[in-house]
Each structure stands twice: as C-alpha cells, then as structure tokens.
C-alpha cells in the first residue's frame, strides 16, 4: 500500500467525514466516485483501527456495508450497460448525503473563525437579586428550558429510594400548613378575601377547625391581618405585604 496514513485516527467526526477525506485527498470527482477504490480504502482504514484496537463506532461499520452494497449494484450488468436515465445510479443517495454534510462541515469551519474572534470577549454578567412580584410566567420561563425541568426532576428522583415515592392514602391529611397554603391561593389575584369565602367550600369540621387555626397562626406570624368593616360584618383577611 503506497498510502501513508498520516492522519489523526480520531479526527473524523463520522463515516461521511472520512469519505470526504478520501475524496479530497485523492482528488476524486464526487459525482463519479470510483466506488471500488474508495470502498477498499475505507475498509483498510477500519482494519487499521481494528488492528490498533480502537473502538469502531457502529456507523462506520454500517457505512462499510453500505459501500459494499453500492459496489455490488454497480457490478450488475443491468447498470453497467444501461444508458437509460431512469436507472438510478446506486451512488446517488450517498453523493447527496456527502454533499449535504460537506456544506455543514464547511459552515462549522466558518463558525470556528467566529469563535476565535469572539472567545476573548466577556459579556457583562451582573449579580442580580431584583425581584418583582408582578411578572408573569413567560418572563420567568424565558431562562429555563424543558431540559432544565427534566433534569431537576431526575435529580429529585435520584435522591429518593423508589420505595419512598408516595402513592395515595394518608390517614389524616390536613395540616395547618396545608390550610395556610389554601389561604394563600386566595391571595394570588387579590390581597384581601372574606372569611366567608374562605370557609364556604369547606365541608369537613376538622378541616374547618384546622383552617381557623391556620388563620390564627398566620396572624401571629404577621402573614395576614384581619379586620371587620363593621360590627357583625364578615371578617376580611388581608395579606401583609
């Protein structure tokens, strides 16, 4: 073999990249690839990788069989003799893929230049702690990707043993915390709510009592205050800002 492989073995991003290398090095016509020649070179390369005990990715092997199949088709007399335009050249699909891939590879090189030009600049990175309550979902989500959410979920799951993932029934599920939570739901849109509104939907006595304790607790911790517009009027619960 006169071919000297002065190539970094790990340089190729994939089989298409490797084929483009052969085409370029040997100055082959990409529209008329000598398939036997290139298949041979390709297989030699894989062999060499194998000899050197390098792992060969599945795609490289897949491409080898693809090349051999094209080569076989090219040998069929039907193709060799036909001038007919409607018999498709078995190489076409590969050529199209190579050309498309080549375009992005070239663009990647252009981007490398941009990266070089810009790598030394650092943009302002402020330490921000401003928080405004009146912003909507869209404005927060702007900085979060679904990937972040999924990753966060996975991290949570990773922290707990499977068996501990709860499902279902608890004996007594209502706590002061729950009802504090429940009260807060009224404060999403408004800062005030009538006591009667809060208790209207509560059917269970236990829940009612716990809700009441929660209100007292919240007054004590100054999360809310309570007042009456007039004697015997409904209580108004107001969130303390």
């Amino acid at each position: 073999m006169e071919r000297k492989y002065q190539i970094n073995l790990d340089t190729f991003a994939g089989p298409l990249d490797l084929l483009l290398y052969f085409i370029k090095r040997d100055e082959l016509n990409i529209y008329d690839i000598p398939i036997a020649k290139i298949t041979k070179e390709y297989l030699e390369y894989l062999n060499m990788m194998h000899t050197l005990d390098l792992q060969i990715a599945g795609e490289f092997v897949e491409m080898a069989s693809n090349l051999m199949s094209i080569k076989a088709k090219m040998l069929l007399p039907r193709f060799a003799e036909a001038d007919d335009d409607d018999i498709e050249d078995p190489r076409n699909e590969l050529v199209q893929r190579l050309l498309e891939y080549q375009q992005y590879k070239e663009m990647g090189k252009e981007m490398k230049k941009l990266e070089e030009e810009n790598i030394s600049y650092f943009h302002r990175n402020p330490n921000l702690t401003y928080v405004d309550k009146n912003i909507d979902a869209k404005e927060i989500l702007h900085k979060i990707s679904l990937f972040d959410i999924l990753t966060a979920f996975k991290n949570v799951l990773d922290k707990i043993p499977d068996k501990l993932i709860p499902h279902g029934i608890q004996l007594d599920n209502v706590s002061i915390d729950d009802q504090t939570e429940y009260l807060y739901t009224f404060f999403i849109k408004k800062s005030k709510v009538n006591f009667s509104t809060v208790v209207k939907t509560i059917k269970s006595r236990v829940v009612l009592i716990v809700t009441f304790i929660a209100i007292l607790e919240m007054i004590k911790t100054q999360q809310i205050r309570i007042y009456q517009a007039d004697l015997f009027e409904d209580f108004i619960i107001e969130k303390v800002e």
């Binding site: 990175n125 330490n127 927060i140 979060i144 966060a152 979920f153 709860p166 599920n173 729950d178 999403i188």
Partner: protein
C-alpha cells in the same frame, strides 16, 4: 483624560465580567507570580473615578467582597428592563418543585414535600404567584388536600399541548449518555465523541 492604571483596569474588567464578588484572595489567584494589586485601594481609585466622571454605577461592598452596582436613581428603569427581559430566575428549589409538579400533576402539597423531603409551602406559593402552577381541585384522600398542576401558560411557553408532551426520563438518558436513536446494527459500543479542542482538518 489620563490613561488609567493597568491594575485598576484589570479589577474593573473582572467586576464587569463576573457575577461573583471580588476579594483580595480571589484576585491574588488571577495574577502572575510577583504581580500584586491592592484591592481596597484600587476600588477606592475606581470609585473615585466613577464619581468624578458622573457614571451611573459604582463599586459596592457586599458581604463577600466588591460588586459593580448601579445608583438608586436608575432602579426604576432597570426593574422595568429586567422584568421585560425575564432576568428573574427561579431558585433551584422552585425549579425542582416545578419539575415535580410538571411530571406528577395533579399532585398534593404533602406529596410534593415527601418527594422533596423539605417543607415546600413557600416555594409552591411563589410558583403560584408567578402563574406557573395552579390549583386543580382537591384530592379524594382524607382532608381533601389541594391538587396542584402546571398552568396553561407554562405549557404554552414550551410549545406543549399537554403535560404528557414533556420530555421523558428515557430521553434525558439518551441525551446525556449519547444513546443512539438511529438503529444501531452493530454490537460495538459507540465511543461518545468527546470535545477535542483543536486539531487540523
């Protein structure tokens, strides 16, 4: 205007480019052997310059060192700008809770806390305030705790029709471990191509 001291410019550049407060110790680590900068003096020098030049920012001393900050007068504009551009980030606790609610909805508060292992009331109400999470009825379990779910806004933002369109854990695995979506016919494990820095081509 005179050329400013190179040391002051180094400190200034770090202040601009990093969100972490600068301290003498951290500064020392950035400098070559023998190169010394007195941070406190440099800060004084810079602040003096900013004041004389009537800039809208100054260097603030915070718990962990020095940070670039803007004067109070501009707070109004900045707030508006930041809110518009969505610079407000969720805390990690909030993100985690949001993730649990997204994937397990509808879910009760106690259940969320059992998964997270910590009290989550504050976080849930933050998420509700932000309109990311909403109450979707009550569970049938005793006490009938509230059920939380993500809002329409949340799904709409990510272009999802329903919460079942969320990425699946399996897909995360595929992304992280580079498992192939293309059929992998051959048995050879695929070495994940890692970032090589710079080679020819």
């Amino acid at each position: 205007m005179k050329t400013i001291d190179i040391n002051a410019k180094i400190v200034e550049a770090i202040l601009v480019a990093s969100d972490e407060a600068i301290t003498q110790g951290k500064l020392d680590k950035c400098l070559d052997e023998g190169h010394q900068i007195d941070l406190d003096n440099t800060i004084k020098y810079l602040n003096n310059f900013y004041e004389k030049a009537d800039r809208s920012f100054f260097i603030m001393k915070v718990a962990g060192g020095y940070l670039l900050a803007t004067h109070k007068d501009y707070e109004k504009f900045i707030r508006k700008f930041i809110n518009r551009s969505g610079r407000i980030r969720l805390s990690y606790a909030a993100l985690e809770t949001l993730a649990i609610i997204s994937y397990k909805q509808p879910i009760t508060h106690p259940e969320i806390e059992r998964i997270r292992g910590v009290n989550s009331g504050g976080v849930i109400s933050t998420l509700m305030e932000r309109n990311l999470v909403t109450v979707k009825g009550r569970a049938n379990s005793p006490g009938r705790p509230l059920l939380y779910a993500t809002t329409e806004d949340f799904l709409k933002y990510f272009g999802l029709n329903s919460s079942s369109d969320l990425p699946r854990l399996k897909e995360l695995d595929e992304i992280i471990h580079g498992k192939n979506n293309i059929s992998q016919k051959t048995a050879e494990p695929n070495p994940i191509r890692e970032e090589k820095t710079d080679n020819d081509q």
